[in-house]
Symmetry: C2
């Protein structure tokens, strides 16, 4: 399969039209049937593949950074009577299991980004269903604050996956229906097993949509409701944003080089080396500075690069099971940036910087690879970059003789970069011991290996004599274990404490979906996805309930 790239920009969109008018942005789906990411399927009826979703994720990111005066986003379609038919079934039928899982993970993240944009950035979202929304199409609507459905006697919302395909809605649909929209569970049961879906008054009565509106009044009502939602936003009017230019990235057979990030692949050991560099040049010290520096500021550039590197690993380096995270440079520079960000976090742009960093770190938490942080002299595991060590499954810190090797915390470790559970990584690490976390955060200055180990901030602190063997062994052992068992184990150990709608989607719904995707009833020779659309063929099921 060709390498998948996650960067795009509106000039290159094939499937969406982004239009900004004052405080209202409209993102309209108009999928180019012939522009699928891979050959072999046509994206009919506004069905989507990963390429369509990469554009959606890009649009959301740009609304955040480049359009600070946008206060409401209307998501709609340019097709008549069809909003979106969901993920393309033929694409799914042709895809490998790892691809399907990765695809669902990315689309889930994108939908959560829509919700985060509403909740945290106050860009409210309205889904204007000018036609039927099926499966992933309705799930996209569910990720918006409000859903208006045209009432034309035929347009419906539906989750036909169970009935037609023998799989689950893969983008949070079941969870959002009952947990977010609080559709009664028995109504949800009927709805999720009824391929044709629900429309009109019942769709409103059951809370599946917020409103149904006759076609003649639909556009006016969408404008009116969008204006109401815009009122709820605190985003500043008449403000200029910053551009997000293409990343400086050089791809080779052995990895990707960026300005601040370096990803090198060791195929023989099935290990990736992920290096993040601290800022080398002076960084902005206030919001105006960030506005002037734009996307070249380390606090944006390094994290966009890191995000791209993680996505590249996920999609294009499937056999790499272990990621060794290293950092390099002057930790004081990281701490300076962190302090600036923490101090000015109410400013719209600084808020977006913090949210970007949060999303990238969450992307790591949700990546099905082992992460080890390797903390050696010359590294910069401080503040926001120390979150990388906290996100890792383990950390090894060299107890060097002259105690130069050190880590440090910053205000950003104080709950400003929370996990999907809502907990900071420190609170999750020391679950139920908030005193201990508070004491650590009150500590000024850096900690050498012995003190970091005592404080519980690193897992192991071998000395110079043991370091090489201990780390080598830990790498070799990990790389030899069943990749599936490690994925399930990491997903269970990483998310301690409370569960949220977000963790439910990734932990419960996605885990079940992964299981279902491997079962012959969906993807076997006679499975429902396999025979879908093949004339005269019906799926054959192993009826044993499990």
């Amino acid at each position: 399969m060709a390498t998948i790239h996650f960067e795009t920009d509106p000039d290159r969109y094939r499937h969406w039209k982004l239009d900004v008018q004052g405080d209202t942005a409209t993102l309209a789906m108009n999928v180019d049937e012939e522009a699928g990411l891979a050959p072999g399927y046509a994206l009919k009826l506004n069905s989507y593949d990963l390429g369509v979703d990469i554009e959606l994720a890009d649009a959301i990111q740009r609304l955040r950074f480049s359009h600070p005066d946008v206060r409401v986003l209307v998501v709609t379609s340019l097709r008549d009577r069809m909003f979106c038919a969901g993920a393309n079934i033929f694409m799914l039928g042709k895809s490998s299991h790892p691809f399907k899982v990765n695809f669902c993970k990315f689309t889930n993240e994108t939908r959560l980004y829509l919700e985060e944009m509403s909740r945290e950035s106050h860009v409210k979202t309205l889904c204007a269903l000018n036609g039927t929304a099926s499966g992933g199409g309705y799930e996209l609507a569910l990720a918006c604050d409000d859903i208006l459905l045209v009432d034309d006697g035929s347009s419906a919302v539906s989750l036909p996956e169970v009935a037609l395909l023998g799989v689950l809605p893969g983008t949070g649909g079941l969870t959002r229906v009952v947990d977010k929209r609080r559709v009664r569970r028995d109504h949800a049961d009927f709805f999720s097993t009824t391929a044709e879906g629900v429309r009109g008054k019942r769709a409103v009565d059951w809370k599946l949509v917020d409103e149904v509106v006759p076609r003649s009044r639909f556009e006016a009502r969408v404008r009116e409701r969008a204006a109401e939602l815009a009122e709820q936003s605190d985003r500043p009017p008449h403000t200029r944003g910053i551009e997000l230019p293409r990343l400086a990235r050089t791809e080779s057979a052995n990895g990707v080089e960026y300005t601040h990030v370096s990803l090198t692949i060791d195929r023989e050991r099935r290990v990736a080396n992920l290096l993040v560099r601290a800022p080398r040049d002076p960084q902005p010290t206030d919001p105006d500075g960030f506005l002037r520096a734009g996307a070249s500021a380390w606090a944006i550039a390094a994290w966009r690069e890191l995000d791209d590197a993680i996505l590249h690993l996920r999609a294009n380096e499937l056999e790499i099971g272990l990621v060794l995270i290293r950092t390099e440079g002057d930790p004081a520079r990281v701490l300076e940036v962190d302090h600036t960000v923490a101090r000015h976090r109410e400013h719209w742009l600084v808020r977006e910087i913090l949210l970007l960093q949060k999303r990238v770190l969450k992307r790591i938490d949700l990546t099905a690879r082992t992460f080890y942080a390797l903390i050696t002299p010359g590294s910069a595991f401080a503040g926001s970059l120390f979150e990388l060590a906290l996100a890792a499954d383990r950390s090894y810190m060299l107890a060097d003789e002259d105690q130069a090797n050190a880590i440090a915390l910053s205000p950003l470790n104080r709950g400003l970069l929370p996990m999907s559970t809502g907990l900071s990584r420190l609170d999750a690490r020391f679950l139920g011991a908030s005193d201990r976390v508070a004491a650590l955060l009150d500590h000024e200055g850096s900690l050498d290996a012995e003190r970091a180990l005592d404080a519980g901030l690193v897992t192991f602190a071998p000395d110079d004599i043991d370091w090489d063997d201990e780390v080598r062994l830990a790498i070799e052992e990990r790389a030899a274990m069943s990749p599936d068992a490690l994925t399930g184990m990491e997903a269970s150990l990483r998310f301690v404490g409370p569960e949220t709608m977000e963790t439910k989607i990734f932990g419960r719904l996605s885990a079940w979906q992964n299981w279902i995707f491997t079962r012959p009833n969906s993807t076997g020779e006679k499975g429902a996805i396999t025979v879908y659309g093949k004339a005269g063929q019906r799926p054959e099921f192993d009826w044993r309930r499990t």
Copy 2:
């Protein structure tokens, strides 16, 4: 495979020795190698299969009802230097996927019953690890309040599943390590990938056990600690319990007949009919009455029968995808019993009755079959029996012309029979609408179909003209859908709202485990479980991380 039976009693135990001395019960594992539930494997080293766990579940149930003066349970082993080696691998290797999943579900329920017995019945639990506890053996210890490990230079606790078998610990181990015992996530990562486990001081430092004790002082310390735990109990001294005799059950090719419950199988439609009858005779009206009536009281007998019927369905009727729940009899009789139970719920026996009903209803929530409640004239869907309708995925209530068909609530619907989430089924049904729930509970008297539908207590209320067709169609459609998709869907829709350690174990850990069990890396020809113990063979993995 031979029919699996879930009833046993201490006289028939092959694998455990239950000994009661004053306020202390000791349950000692001593697995009979040759007494596996199925042929083809030997239960060496105190490894277990479903048969071993059925005895454990029985012992817990009897401690509740027959030994009210027991205040602490010591779980230990009669083997030297080996507590328990966990689930038998050769048994797992020979088992079908549905069997493995059902086995894990039952063992998970049993471990949760241990925890519930401590929390709700105040029988505190101490695990005395007189030798190594591996995998499921350590997971059994994790379900106890306190873990003492002998410190003999070799006995360790371990979760070797990931490293040795390419699967997860299947009985809550990962979740309990980080969420219950709050072992730090990176320590848990190391521990769960280290086949030989952890012992001695590190086991205590990492919170994997509560105490390590030299062999010479082990027995004395166990006695001492048991006495301390017994102090925490409120169970009444010198009280006589009630016996739990064998159930009156008649098994035939088409189902099982009990005194109050009837299970009939319609193999052609893949449907089970589950009928629960209201009490026919006068029932106890106070705790003394319950003590006199013993296990023959409807509030115990009907629910033990229902539990057995559900377990029978799960284990022995795999192809039955849909269960139609009906009730029959005088609803007033059910309400009378409910009122007695609610009024006297502080009494030790009444408390156990309530907990029994709660566990049976939770067993239904966790059963991977669709449940429809069918409410017709002559039924007794009132109070505790109405919980069956609330537990169902949908309910159909006949809107009969003379409005004789009715349902009713009782104090037991008021949060006394909570789900695994901690919510009552009414609170889960109307998530976030506690006013509405309160108003429903304040309503005195029964509701006919129209009012029940208005109140949101039933899903559909067809009239006499529509009933037959609507119900028939709903049954046929359901029975035709992919059983896997339905399992994943129901598991997602049933547990709305908060998550608990319990729902995490079933929703997250078990769902991942199910996925891993289907993957060739564990159960394929070269999978880790398949080649386990075969000389000279090593597993071969598809290295793609998913």
